[in-house]
Symmetry: C2
Subunit: 217 residues, 2 copies
């Protein structure tokens, strides 16, 4: 199945389909029409059919989607059918919060290491994961088959660390530092940004522009 | 200035302009051409001119942009020219991590309260902010002019809490719970989602699809 050239907008929606299908599975629903799924997700049925057609389509006319099959197929597309080893670099509040998310592991993202530069944190454990110093990173990445690094360092330290991680074999950076890593990293490194302060600014924009009486409809 | 009807894509880019202009200001740069800004941000100059024209345009032909003026104007558009009182509901790892972000305050988002349902946390302080129990919420929202609530509760508790927050006057929810609040809240309530596990799935998709030799160019 050729997945290249699928629009970012569709990719953005896939995890949401995956989530709804997971909830349906938990509720024991075996089959659902695009119409019913549309009603639950508040997306048009034609949008759903179009989105899923990007991947070859999984439904049968007049018969709906097999929930388990669709859930499994979307998992494969998202790469959730195998385990990804992840490290967290930056064991401050946010890094520790991420380390405590047991739910990532259920989707196949296994936190195998937690790193910081602050010697005070050395040896402290978070959910059974010991905090190590960053000088151990190169060997750790090699010996633990680390694919993903969550980067939760301050932005002043993030660029240099990102280069170091990639030089040592990390293939994807989950970037929480407020800086544009993709401008300095090789093109084949995946960068997924979570810029919290920019998210808050978008909220503020919408609050400023749309909130209150005038937007009521 | 009419800001309605501006595309989400432009709004998504505005905080990034704001960040780059802030860095230029710090570096003492007073004036910049769209060409120079384009080079730094790796966005085309015509994209920059187009984006900023949405807000009336701030540049003068052959003269470039006044950095401080543009920074100030974008701040106004984003609603950063005034203080927004924010509470955090859910004082677990993530909620405490957010409470520790002093940088939000520098952009005008002031965390005035931190709430949880777990009595063990009652009275614990995070960066000087005392954790309160959620039964105090209604009065607190009224007396502290709370506009924004960051919601970091598990998804099973998030829906009911979101309704309660909105009923008591909260206008915007910064939603970290993996559930679609906009399906149940009134249309004029602003919801900005940060769905960490979905972000990780997009990373995984890109890793699956684009990483490695074939994407090198």
């Amino acid at each position: 199945m050729d997945q290249k050239g699928i629009s970012r907008a569709v990719i953005k929606r896939l995890p949401r389909y995956y989530r709804y299908l997971g909830e349906l599975l938990e509720a024991g629903v075996e089959r659902i029409s695009s119409g019913e799924l549309s009603e639950r997700m508040k997306v048009t049925a034609s949008q759903i059919r179009q989105d899923l057609n990007n991947f070859g389509g999984f439904g049968q006319q007049g018969y709906g989607y097999n929930v388990r099959h669709l859930h499994t197929e979307i998992a494969k597309i998202l790469g959730l059918d195998r385990t990804h080893n992840m490290i967290i670099v930056g064991a401050g509040n946010l890094g520790q919060a991420l380390a405590n998310y047991a739910s990532f592991e259920r989707s196949g993202f296994k936190t195998v290491g937690l790193f910081d530069v602050n010697p005070v944190l050395k040896g402290v454990s978070v959910r059974g994961i010991e905090i190590r110093m960053t000088d151990e990173l190169p060997e750790f990445i090699r010996t633990h088959n680390v694919e993903i690094a969550a980067l939760t360092l301050p932005k002043t330290k993030a660029l240099e660390m990102a280069k170091c991680l990639v030089d040592n074999g990390v293939k994807a950076i989950w970037n929480f530092a407020l800086t544009d890593l993709n401008l300095i990293l090789p093109k084949d490194v995946v960068v997924e940004n979570v810029h919290l302060s920019e998210s808050l600014m978008r909220l503020s924009y919408n609050l400023n522009t749309y909130s209150g009486e005038e937007h009521k409809k």
